[in-house]
């Protein structure tokens, strides 16, 4: 008789355990299949008009930063990228910006205003963005000397992320060996996603591109 009465709590326990487990997880984390894989190749034209091929940078550590002039969070992370470029360029760090859903004019002006003299390429039709499984901007890919993605930052990079990954990748002159536990995707708290599709994020007056 009593085992029947215990049946309901017994059945409820796994459900409660499952829900409780769900509470310990960060729903904003999206596992990405990309870390550990080789970075998708691209050949795009830069804002300056040159052509840039990712494969030409093989052998160097590449920070691939997707951004847009309409993206608010990009403004916040930009000084960190400028500082990183200044600090590690001589040791072989190559920064590459990919301009996402933006016009050449707006992007060029944004760079002029905010500094940074690394190449920025235009991504027509978001093809490269989709190749890299982009969710929004900013997103930054850390690519090792063998051309493999070792880390993907969704949302703006932090100083800590840069300090953790760049020296490690620079020090690693040979084949990159990263333990699977390190292949992860991080997302900064307070990640601000903006979309170019809503006029409100662009000011209320229609702007000429």
């Amino acid at each position: 008789m009593t085992w029947k009465r215990a049946l309901i709590p017994l059945a409820a326990m796994p459900v409660i355990a499952l829900l409780g487990f769900g509470l310990t997880r960060d729903a904003r984390l999206v596992p990405s299949p990309l870390p550990g894989k080789s970075a998708p190749a691209f050949a795009l034209s830069t804002l300056a008009g040159d052509s840039l091929r990712l494969s030409d940078l093989r052998g160097q550590v590449v920070l691939l930063n997707f951004w847009a002039s309409w993206c608010l969070a990009c403004i916040g992370e930009h000084p960190l990228l400028v500082a990183a470029d200044r600090r590690w360029r001589d040791q072989g760090l190559r920064m590459v910006g990919v301009v996402y859903q933006d016009t050449r004019g707006n992007a060029a002006q944004w760079v002029r205003e905010r500094g940074g003299d690394w190449p920025n390429v235009l991504d027509e039709g978001s093809r490269t963005a989709i190749e890299y499984g982009l969710f929004g901007v900013p997103e930054t890919f850390f690519i090792d000397r063998r051309g493999r993605i070792v880390y993907k930052q969704i949302g703006p990079v932090s100083e800590q992320v840069l300090d953790t990954w760049i020296p490690r990748l620079l020090a690693d002159s040979g084949p990159a060996v990263v333990s699977p536990a390190e292949l992860q995707v991080g997302r900064s708290p307070g990640y601000l996603r903006t979309s170019p599709d809503f006029p409100a994020t662009q000011g209320t007056t229609p702007r000429k591109p």
Binding site: V30, P31, S32, P33, L34, Q101, G125, S126, R127, A129, I130, E131, Y132, G133, L134, F135, G136, R193, S195, P196, D197, F198, P199, Q202, T204, T205, P206, K208, P209
Partner: protein, 426 residues
């Protein structure tokens, strides 16, 4: 008149009436094209848009989703199978990108659970109906007595209990049981003994009071009960399942409610002349245009006409989106005048009177006699700025350039009002 103008509904009604859009010739799709579109739509509907919450890239108007859809189309044209296309996106975005999780591993729970719930529900209904049609219990009351009717058995039990109690006493005396156990067992057996005795006393009375066997009394006809149970279960399943599984009806919105500006604007209910009705829109035309834009997001003519139709439906966000895209594509072309006029109206509606006027002026700069822009400008000046002279000027020009139609009388009346207001304020 002012009341009338204060209701955006009327304004949209006017807007709808005012512009018989120069419909660009629609290219009839070849059968192959529409077949491809159907396949693209099928694959796109199974892929999650990365920048929206739980929309497929088929449903999402975002630029990234449109770009992804273009890649779906290209790969299908190149001969990839739908599964290969999906695999391409899974390799880049992870399994997350699939709206339907593949039925393996942990994901199986998601697929099995509904079936389990369905079976569980059926069992519950079955049990409920069974209890319903079961014979009514013989009697209420007499909480503890064991449900035994046979006096012989009752007597045997009484004897057994009495001897069990005696044995317990003996065991306790020999300290074979602890005091705690002794109390517990004794209480249990004594309680049962009391119940058995009560039942023995009760029995003759009960048998006399109810000679007929109580078992045959049913509270409901079992056939009726079973059919009711089956019908109720079937109705619930049919209602919930069809609603959750059915594909969206043509022209239906993603949420089932039109959230993009469909809510009645303030004061909309009192517009006697507006009738409160959103102008009917040619939905077939809407679909043709949406398909054209999906095929080529740079189809300027389609964007502008779509902007007009969305505006007529009061789907302001959508209208703003396509109009914005149109003006971004051709910021300085005469064809963009209509898009700027739409944006002016939308901005004014959003409370941005100055920005709205700016957009309308831009429209008139591109196309000085564009009737819709003149009509809108008059409305914004009149209702938004209380600039009667400006409104008068715009509407006078409108009457000169626009072909006479249903609006003419209306605009004449508004013009009259503006002139009167200008006169009285002087």
């Amino acid at each position: 008149m002012r009341l009338l103008l204060a209701t955006p509904l009327v304004v949209f009604w006017l807007a709808q009436q005012a512009t018989a859009p120069a419909s660009p010739p629609s290219r009839p799709d070849s059968a192959r094209d529409s077949l491809l579109e159907a396949r693209v739509g099928e694959v796109a509907a199974s892929l999650r848009c990365p920048v929206c919450q739980n929309l497929s890239i088929q449903d999402s108007p975002s630029e990234l989703a449109q770009d992804m859809k273009r890649i779906v189309r290209e790969q299908l044209v190149r001969g990839a199978t739908p599964d290969q296309v999906r695999q391409y996106f899974v390799a880049r975005y992870g399994e997350w990108v699939l709206l339907e999780p593949p039925a393996r591993g942990v994901n199986l729970t998601v697929w099995a659970l509904p079936a389990l719930v369905l079976v569980g529900g059926a069992v519950l209904v079955w049990a409920a109906v069974r209890r319903w049609v079961q014979p009514a219990p013989a009697a209420a009351g007499a909480p503890a007595p064991p449900p035994v009717a046979d006096p012989g058995e009752l007597l045997a039990r009484r004897a057994r209990l009495v001897s069990a109690l005696e044995e317990l006493e003996a065991d306790f005396a020999d300290t074979k049981v602890t005091a705690g156990d002794y109390d517990l067992l004794r209480q249990r057996d004594e309680a049962e003994l009391r119940a058995v005795k009560a039942a023995l006393k009760e029995r003759p009375k009960r048998a006399a009071a109810r000679p007929a066997p109580a078992a045959v009394r049913r509270s409901i006809n079992p056939v009726v009960a079973w059919s009711l149970g089956v019908v109720a279960f079937g109705a619930v399943v049919a209602l919930t399942l069809t609603r959750s599984v059915a594909p969206r009806a043509a022209g239906g919105t993603i949420t089932g409610i039109d959230l993009s500006g469909g809510a009645a604007p303030d004061g909309g209910a009192d517009g006697a002349e507006g009738g409160g009705a959103i102008a009917p829109v040619d939905t077939a035309r809407l679909h043709v245009l949406e398909a054209r834009v999906a095929r080529d997001s740079n189809d300027h003519a389609a964007l502008v006409e779509l902007g007009h139709l969305y505006l007529s439906q009061q789907r302001l966000n959508r209208s703003a989106q396509v109009n914005m895209r149109a003006v971004r594509l051709k910021p300085d072309a005469r064809e963009s005048a209509e898009a700027f006029a739409h944006l002016g109206m939308i901005l004014w509606n959003a409370g941005e009177t100055d920005a709205g006027l700016q957009s309308l002026d831009k429209a008139l700069e591109l196309h000085p006699d564009f009737p819709e822009a003149l009509l809108f400008k008059g409305i914004v000046l009149f209702a938004g700025k209380r600039d009667m002279a400006g409104a008068t000027q715009a509407w006078e020009r409108y009457l000169q350039v626009a072909p006479a139609d249903a609006n003419t009388a209306r605009v004449r009346a508004m013009l009259e009002g503006a002139r009167r207001a200008a006169g009285s304020s002087r």
